[in-house]
């Protein structure tokens, strides 16, 4: 019976330690801000995702065409819009530039 | 490309309408199911019903010959009505006096004549609150 109580007490103490750990490890941190994305980073992530999505769609179209799921005429018809979308995504990324270059851009472009 | 309004909403609306139509058609043709009642509510009822109750002995007869005869009582035990049941067809293994069963059938001349093979017994409770003896 007492063994059980001792173990239970240990468990409770362990729980408290586990919960307090981040505060014990860093009593005075430089920044306690949650590493959330700000507007520009978020925008860039979305553009990266748009680019990947457009490229993946192109790849799938190629695959479907090569395996014969999509006929030649359908392929020709669908290729144009997808290519344009991918180009748009790549352009948007380039225009936006790397995060370090953000400072030079005008305020208006930031979200 | 030229079309502005997307056909998606129309497609979904038509599909939902079709499904509802099928559903309503079925229920109007095939009708609803069977009412599920307890033995005390059986008196005077006509048509096929589902009777849910507690089996009372003595259990006599042969379900694969002339029929198994037993009594059925309300599970709650408040009412005193016992309905005589005549059952033919498969008898589940768990069937015995004191078990809860469900059986479909029709009241005929004071006896509940069951649809062959329609008996279902309930598994002995494993999720019920604990009881004293544990023997079911």
């Amino acid at each position: 019976m007492t063994v059980a109580l001792v173990l239970a007490a240990l468990l409770a103490v362990a729980a408290v330690i586990v919960v307090a750990l981040p505060f014990l490890v860093e009593p005075e941190p430089e920044s306690d801000r949650l590493g959330e994305l700000d507007g520009t980073e978020r925008r860039r992530l979305e553009q990266l995702e748009a680019r990947d999505r457009a490229l993946a769609a192109l790849k799938e179209l190629e695959f479907d065409h090569r395996t014969g799921t999509i006929t030649d005429e359908d392929y020709r018809e669908l290729l144009g819009p997808l290519r344009r979308e991918a180009a748009r995504a790549l352009q948007a990324l380039e225009r936006f530039g790397a995060p370090a270059a953000d400072e030079e851009r005008p305020e208006a472009e930031r979200t | 490309m030229a079309r502005k309004a997307s056909p998606a909403r129309l497609v979904i609306a038509l599909a939902v309408a079709a499904i509802l139509a099928v559903f309503l058609l079925y229920t109007s043709i095939a009708g609803g199911g069977n009412p599920s009642i307890s033995p005390s509510e059986l008196a005077g009822r006509s048509g096929t019903v589902q009777l849910a109750g507690l089996v009372l002995g003595p259990v006599r007869g042969d379900a694969h010959a002339d029929g198994l005869r037993f009594g059925l009582r309300d599970i709650d035990g408040e009412a005193n009505t016992t309905v005589p049941v005549l059952y033919t067809g498969s008898v589940p293994d768990l069937f015995r006096a004191g078990r809860h069963i469900v059986v479909d059938g029709e009241l005929r001349n004071g006896t509940f004549v069951a649809d062959p093979g329609s008996m279902i017994t309930k598994c002995p409770s494993k999720y019920s609150p604990s009881r004293n003896s544990g023997k079911d």
Partner: protein, 664 residues
């Protein structure tokens, strides 16, 4: 030791409550350390639940009958394997298993995703914690597995019908499925709460959803097999409410798995997906509620317990809060793209979703109808088998056909001419198969014939995809046909794994159609030496034997089986009489034909004292395809679930490109 168990559950309750409150605070205030603390609490909750589970398991294994739960569900004589299964055999233990799996999945989900879905994780923690708070509250205050009593000399024992290997696998698998659906739900809620409404939450939870869905599917097939061979009433699915309780979330999850593909590829159906995942999760909770509340008449159902109202309240709160969140974000959930054509892959997936949902809701209606009619008319009306069978056919058969059409249509827009080219071969094969089957007599059941024909169509399309894909890879320079095949699958795991799963569904459809639309059944009362014939088989009842085993008397009738003039061996069917429990169990005799997949299924319904036996014999064509379908399903799920290193690298590279710090 029960004090330790109870204390551990209290710690779990405390930790999850903290994770909920701290998690919400950390997310709203943007505090990093607090968020980490909340996450630790959730992980810690898994630890303390593990301790509680260990205590219960230890008590079971050492037959400690001072634990009320142990005394109620086991006995000294019970074999060890079944003693372990008693963990989830009763109310309180099964809730503890739920909580264990829940906290385990929660810990894994937040730890595995913390690198690249941080903005979601910070909200996932409190949502998960909220569900865990509910279950730990039930375990602490309403249904504790650690109640104690004066230890009786022996326990009550386990019902013989539960003492079989299925009890070891079927419930845990279903729990993996039910609980697993919490992960996509939590991420969906996190997406709504954090405002990250794009495809991020879908990608993070894709494998979890697949895992839960596969577990639910396999769990149900195991349950069907259990019903077929052990319970032995001649079927594998009775549309019992508790069976439906697992089918409904599975159907909703199937719809979800398909519609997420649309959102990933085209950014459409955002609101739809959120609502679907909410439905799947709510149905999982509802299913858990149905199996233990005694609310509906069921062969599995148990007496009224106090758990029921709590569950209902929790489901109501969950649905209400989730819908409110969706409504709040509705303006931001507008899709950037639209459906372009009613003949496209998106549209096919949409039809698939509508059919699956229709079937799911029809089943739900059938399950709650007795409750509703009782509330409205004062009388519970039960819908029978014919109701379910009708809608299974109406919605299931078009769904089957769609399975063959969807993968072969282009995204966005497919021209009619391309449809004609693509579907020419499958249509020809299907019509030819239909004609042949008609000639063989399959016209006796129109739905059965239609199912066969559609299955032929789908099977052809699947074969076509594999052949064409392999050919394309070979043309790209693969070394040999096998390596082309292998690289095709490994580079397109989702697609071809999905095709394998579709193949499993085709096998399932054929097996179900054969064994339900084209089966034969016959009853006969036989004396020793007499015979009966069913569908070409002749069975002769030879003798009756009795044998004592450890806890039962085995009574078996021996039959000789012949087909035409070919001897097919013998078959035994009978009953077991369990001495201690004073119960009989049905032991059916099954002879499976390896070539045709047909089963000869014999039930010794009643054994008279004079050795006269009432037999019921079924001949079930193609029924073994159902079990084979299970194995194929497992294979297909494994292929789609297999971790893809390339995909992982791409995801990590993306986060690095934006300059997000790698850890924390």
């Amino acid at each position: 030791m029960p004090e330790l168990g109870h204390a551990a559950l209290l710690v779990t309750f405390g930790l999850t409550a903290y994770a909920l409150v701290a998690g919400v605070a950390a997310a709203r205030l943007g505090r990093r350390r607090l968020a980490a603390s909340a996450r630790n609490a959730l992980v810690g909750a898994f630890g303390s639940t593990l301790v509680a589970s260990a205590v219960l398991l230890a008590a079971l294994l050492r037959n400690d009958f001072s634990f009320t739960y142990v005394a109620r569900t086991t006995s000294e004589a019970l074999p060890t394997a079944y003693t372990i299964s008693a963990f989830w055999g009763g109310q309180e233990g099964s809730l503890l298993l739920w909580l264990l799996v829940l906290t385990g999945f929660g810990a894994a989900a937040v730890l595995l995703n913390r690198r690249w879905a941080r903005d979601l994780i910070v909200w996932v923690v409190p949502v998960f914690a909220a569900v865990a708070v509910f279950f730990s509250f039930l375990l602490v205050a309403v249904a504790s597995p650690f109640a104690t009593q004066q230890a009786p000399p022996d326990g009550a024992g386990m019902t013989p019908s539960l003492q079989n290997p299925y009890m070891l696998a079927h419930p845990p698998l279903l729990y993996l499925g039910y609980v697993g659906l919490t992960v996509p739900f939590a991420f969906a809620m996190a997406a709504l709460l954090s405002g990250r409404l794009d495809e991020r939450w879908l990608i993070a939870t894709r494998r979890w959803t697949l895992l839960a869905w596969a577990a639910l599917g396999i769990g149900q097939l195991l349950g069907a097999h259990w019903a077929y061979v052990e319970v032995g009433w001649g079927g594998y699915y009775a549309w019992d409410p508790v069976e439906n309780a697992a089918l409904m979330p599975w159907l909703a999850a199937t719809a979800f798995l398909h519609s997420v593909m649309i959102q990933e590829k085209r950014g459409m159906l955002r609101v739809w997906n959120l609502l679907l995942v909410l439905l799947a999760f709510s149905l999982a909770l509802f299913g858990t509620f149905l199996t233990r509340s005694g609310v509906v008449n069921s062969i599995h159902s148990f007496t009224q317990s106090s758990i029921g109202p709590w569950f209902l309240a929790f489901i109501a709160v969950t649905v209400f809060v989730s819908l409110a969140l969706v409504f709040r974000r509705l303006p931001e959930l507008r899709s950037p793209t639209k459906l372009e054509s009613p003949i496209s892959r998106e549209a096919a997936f949409l039809y698939n979703n509508l059919l699956l949902l229709a079937l799911c809701l029809t089943i739900l209606w059938g399950v709650v109808y007795p409750l509703l009619s009782e509330a409205v008319r004062g009388e519970a009306v039960v819908l029978g088998r014919s109701y379910y069978d009708f809608f299974l056919r109406i919605f299931g058969l078009p769904l089957l056909l769609l399975m063959g059409i969807g993968p072969l249509i282009a995204w966005r827009r497919a021209s009619l001419s391309s449809l004609l080219t693509t579907f020419r071969l499958p249509t020809i094969v299907a019509l030819a198969a239909g004609a042949v089957l008609l000639a063989l007599g399959a016209g006796s059941s129109v739905p059965g014939l239609v199912a066969y024909t559609f299955s032929a169509f789908v099977a052809t399309t699947i074969a076509m995809e594999f052949v064409r894909g392999t050919r394309a890879r070979k043309a790209l320079g693969a070394a040999s046909w096998p390596s082309a095949f292998g690289s095709l699958i490994s580079r397109n795991r989702r697609r071809y794994g999905g095709y394998v799963v579709h193949a499993a569904i085709v096998l399932l459809a054929v097996g179900v159609a054969g064994s339900s639309a084209f089966d034969s059944v016959k009853d006969a009362r036989l004396e020793r030496g007499e015979s009966m014939t069913v569908a070409g088989y002749t069975l002769t009842y030879r003798s009756l034997e009795e044998r004592q085993v450890s806890n039962a008397t085995e009574i078996r009738a021996l039959l000789e089986v012949r087909r035409g003039d070919r001897e097919l061996g013998t078959l035994k069917a009978g009953k077991n009489a369990y001495t201690i429990e004073d119960q009989l169990s049905n032991e059916v005799g099954i002879r499976s034909d390896l070539l045709t997949g047909e089963d000869l299924f014999v039930i010794a319904e009643q054994i008279g004292a004079d050795g006269v036996v009432d037999f019921r014999v079924f001949v079930k064509p193609l029924v073994n395809l159902i079990w084979i379908a299970g194995a194929v399903f497992l294979l297909g799920s494994a292929i789609t679930l297999w971790p893809d290193a390339r995909e992982q690298r791409r995801l990590v590279a993306r986060t690095q490109e934006i300059g997000l710090p790698a850890t924390r």
